[in-house]
Symmetry: C2
Subunit: 365 residues, 2 copies
DNA sequence: TTGAAAGCGCTAACAT
DNA sequence: ATGTTAGCGCTTTCAA
C-alpha cells in the first residue's frame, strides 16, 4: 500500500490553518519567530534561552493572550501547576475549613487548586468505588498532586497510587494503616484534656457521644476519654457511651438517650461540634439548662461553636493549619524529595467557653 | 537525510513495553484482542460494534481496572464528563449552597463536578485576571462546560468563550450585560416584598443596608426597596441607606451608624443574611431588642438565619435550585442544543420568622 | 464491523 | 542557544 510521503499529511492541522479559536504553542512560536521548543522552554523557565529570545517569546505570549493547555501539558509528561483536594462534601464546615488552609498555602506557592467531592452522598453505596475512579482520573490527567480529606478509598488503591510515585497526602485519614504522608491532629490527647477538664470540675458521670469508630479520629477520641477516666480512677461505665456518627442528628438522639438513663450524666462530651450542637438541641428540648444542669464539651471548634448559647467549650483542632501543612508536605514531594514520608501531627487545644460549670454536689445540700 | 521507515521508531512506547503503571487504551485493546478504535467505540457507546466484541472489551476493561484519561480524551476532541463550577470562595454558605444544588444535578446526569475558586482573596487585585486565565485553562483542558457563580471576569472574555461554542452558564451574575445563558433570582421583587411587609407592620422609617452595588443583586435589591417605598408614598430618605458589601462586618457597622442617627429607623432591611447577622450583633451590643425595639429582615435564607435569636425573617433565594437549574441549562447545551440562550429567573419568597414586629406607635401612648 | 493512522497541544530527548 | 521530532492516551476520519 502506498503511504509514502506521510509528511504531506492530507489534512492540515487546525493550528496551521486559518484563524484559530484559541492560540496554541505553535501560534506563539510563529508569532515570535522561533520554534515550539524554545517557547516551551520559556514557558517552563528552563535555562539555555537567550535573554532577548526569552523576552520576544514573552511578548508574543502576551500579544496573543496565550495560556498553556494543562491537559496537553500533563499528557506530555509535564506539570499542570494544579493541586487537587478531595473532600467528603462541599458542605460541612469541617472540610471547608481545611480547604481554606489548603487554598492559602497553595496560593502562596503559586499553584492552583481544584476541589473534588468524592461522594456527595456520604458513606453511600458506591462511594469508595467512585473515589477510586477519581483518584485515577485526577492523578493521571488533571493534577500534579492529591490531598485527600478523610479518604474512603481502600488503602490498596491509595498505596499503589503512591508507589507509582504520585504525590499523595492524607488529611485526617481514617483507619488506613499505611505509612503514606499524612497530617492528623492529636485526637487522643485532645479528648484526654477535655475529659480531664470535666473531671477537674468535679464531674464523675460523664456521658460520651462517639463519632464513627472506624475513623481514626473517632476511635482515638474515645480512647482519650477512657484514658482520662482510668487515670482519675473513675470506673468506665459503658452505658454512658453512646455510639454516634459525627452528625448533628446523632448527637441529638444520643443526648436524649443519655439523659433518660436512670442515673443520667452531669456532663456530656461529644466527639465533634456538630453532634454537640445536636446534644444542645436535645438538652434544650428536655428543659435542661447548659451549663447549670449539665455541662457540654465538643470537638473541632468550627465557627458555629462560638455562637451557640451558651458558647461551646470545645477542643480546637487546627483545621486550617492541617490543610496548610499538608500542602507543605506535598510541595516537598513535588520538588523531588520523594523521600518525605512524614506523618505530621498537630496539637489540639481546649477552648474553654461557657458550656461547662463545676458540679453542684447534691450530697452537700 | 534518511528518515525512512519511520515505523521502526527507535523507541518503544511506554504502553507497549514491559509492565505499565496505569493501563491505557492500548493495554485494553491488547487484552481484548481488538484495536484501540474498537475500544474507543465501546468506551463512547458508539454503534457499529458487535455485541460480542463490546462485551469482550468491557470485560477487559474490568479486568484491568481501566479508567480513561480525561486529559487525553479532551485533547483528542472528546468529552471529559466533567463540569466545572467556579465560585468566589470555598467559605461563604451562599456559594456552597449553590454548589450543593449543582452537585446534585450533576450526579443525576452522571457527570462529575470540579470546583474552582476564582480568587480566594475576594475582590483583590488580580482577581479578574486570574479568573480570565482559569476560564481558558478549564475550558480548554479540563471540563466540558463551565458554571460561574458571580463571575468577575470581564464580559468580553466570557462572551468570546461562549462564542467559541464553549458551554457557559452564569449564576447570579454581576453587572455583565450580555445575553449569555444565566440563572438569577428575582432580587428586585424579593426586596419589594420584604419592604412591603415591613411597611404593612406600620414601619415608616426603614433603614437599608446595601450590598455591593456593582452587583446586579445588590442594585436590584436597593431598587426593590425604593420601589416599595414609592408605592406606599413614603418619601425616600438617603440617610437611611448605608452602603455595605454583603459582609457581616459591614452589616455591623451599618446598623451602628443607622441607630445613631438623630431619628433612627424602627426597622432595618439588610441586603443579605450575612450583613443582617452583623446588624443583629450591633443591635445587641447597643442594648436594643429585636424585634421589640427594632425589626430586622435579611436576604438569602442561609441556614444560619433560622438559628439566630430571634430567628431571622428573610427573603429566601432558592440557591440550591439555582445551581440545579444551571446544570439543566448547560446539559441542554452539551447535548447539542446550542440555541439555548435562556435567562432563567427563579422566584424568591419571604420567610417570616421572629425578627419583626408591628411598630409600637409612640404617639399612641 | 473492524483496523490503521493522523492528529489534539505540549514536553523532552536528541541534534545541530 | 535553538530546532526537530517522537511520543503522551485518546478520538476520529478513512479504508478495508
Amino acid at each position: 500500500m502506498d503511504r509514502g510521503r506521510p509528511e504531506m499529511g492530507r489534512q492540515r492541522t487546525r493550528a496551521s490553518s486559518g484563524r484559530n479559536v484559541s492560540p496554541t504553542i505553535v501560534d506563539v512560536a510563529r508569532e515570535a519567530g522561533v520554534s515550539v521548543s524554545t517557547v516551551s522552554r520559556v514557558l517552563n523557565n528552563k535555562p539555555d534561552v537567550a535573554q532577548a529570545t526569552r523576552e520576544a517569546v514573552r511578548a508574543a505570549i502576551r500579544r496573543l493572550g496565550y495560556v498553556a493547555n494543562p491537559s496537553a501539558r500533563r499528557l506530555a509528561g509535564g506539570r499542570t501547576g494544579i493541586i487537587g483536594l478531595v473532600v467528603p462534601d462541599f458542605i460541612t464546615p469541617y472540610a471547608m475549613e481545611i480547604a481554606r488552609g489548603v487554598g492559602e498555602a497553595v496560593r502562596e506557592a503559586s499553584y492552583d487548586l481544584i476541589l473534588y467531592s468524592a461522594g456527595q452522598g456520604r458513606e453511600n453505596h458506591r462511594g469508595e468505588e467512585r473515589e477510586h475512579a477519581w483518584l485515577n482520573i485526577l492523578s493521571r490527567g488533571l493534577v500534579d498532586g492529591l490531598l485527600l480529606v478523610l479518604p474512603r478509598s481502600s488503602g490498596e488503591a491509595l498505596i499503589s497510587l503512591a508507589h507509582r510515585g504520585f504525590p499523595v497526602v492524607l488529611i485526617d485519614h481514617r483507619g488506613i494503616d499505611t505509612d503514606l504522608p499524612s497530617v492528623v491532629a492529636t485526637n487522643r490527647e485532645g479528648a484526654l484534656e477535655a475529659t480531664r477538664y470535666l473531671l477537674s470540675l468535679g464531674h464523675r458521670r460523664i456521658g460520651f457521644i462517639t463519632g464513627l469508630l472506624n475513623y481514626h479520629a473517632g476511635a482515638d477520641r474515645l480512647a482519650g476519654y477512657r484514658e482520662a477516666l482510668a487515670q482519675a480512677g473513675v470506673p468506665y461505665d459503658p452505658s454512658l457511651v453512646i455510639e454516634g456518627n459525627f452528625r448533628r442528628q446523632s448527637g441529638y438522639e444520643a443526648a436524649l438517650a443519655l439523659m433518660r438513663l436512670p442515673d443520667p450524666p452531669t456532663a456530656i462530651f461529644a466527639s465533634n461540634d456538630e453532634s454537640a450542637l445536636g446534644a444542645l438541641d436535645a438538652l434544650r428540648d428536655l428543659g435542661l439548662r447548659v451549663p447549670d444542669d449539665v455541662s457540654l464539651v465538643g470537638f473541632d471548634d468550627i465557627s458555629a461553636a462560638a455562637e451557640t448559647r451558651p458558647p461551646l467549650t470545645t477542643v480546637r483542632q487546627p483545621l486550617m493549619e492541617m490543610g496548610y501543612q499538608a500542602v507543605q508536605l506535598i510541595l516537598a514531594m513535588l520538588n523531588g524529595r520523594s523521600d518525605v514520608m512524614q506523618q505530621i501531627q498537630l496539637p489540639t487545644r481546649l477552648i474553654v467557653r461557657g458550656s461547662c460549670s463545676p458540679l453542684q454536689s447534691p450530697q452537700e445540700h
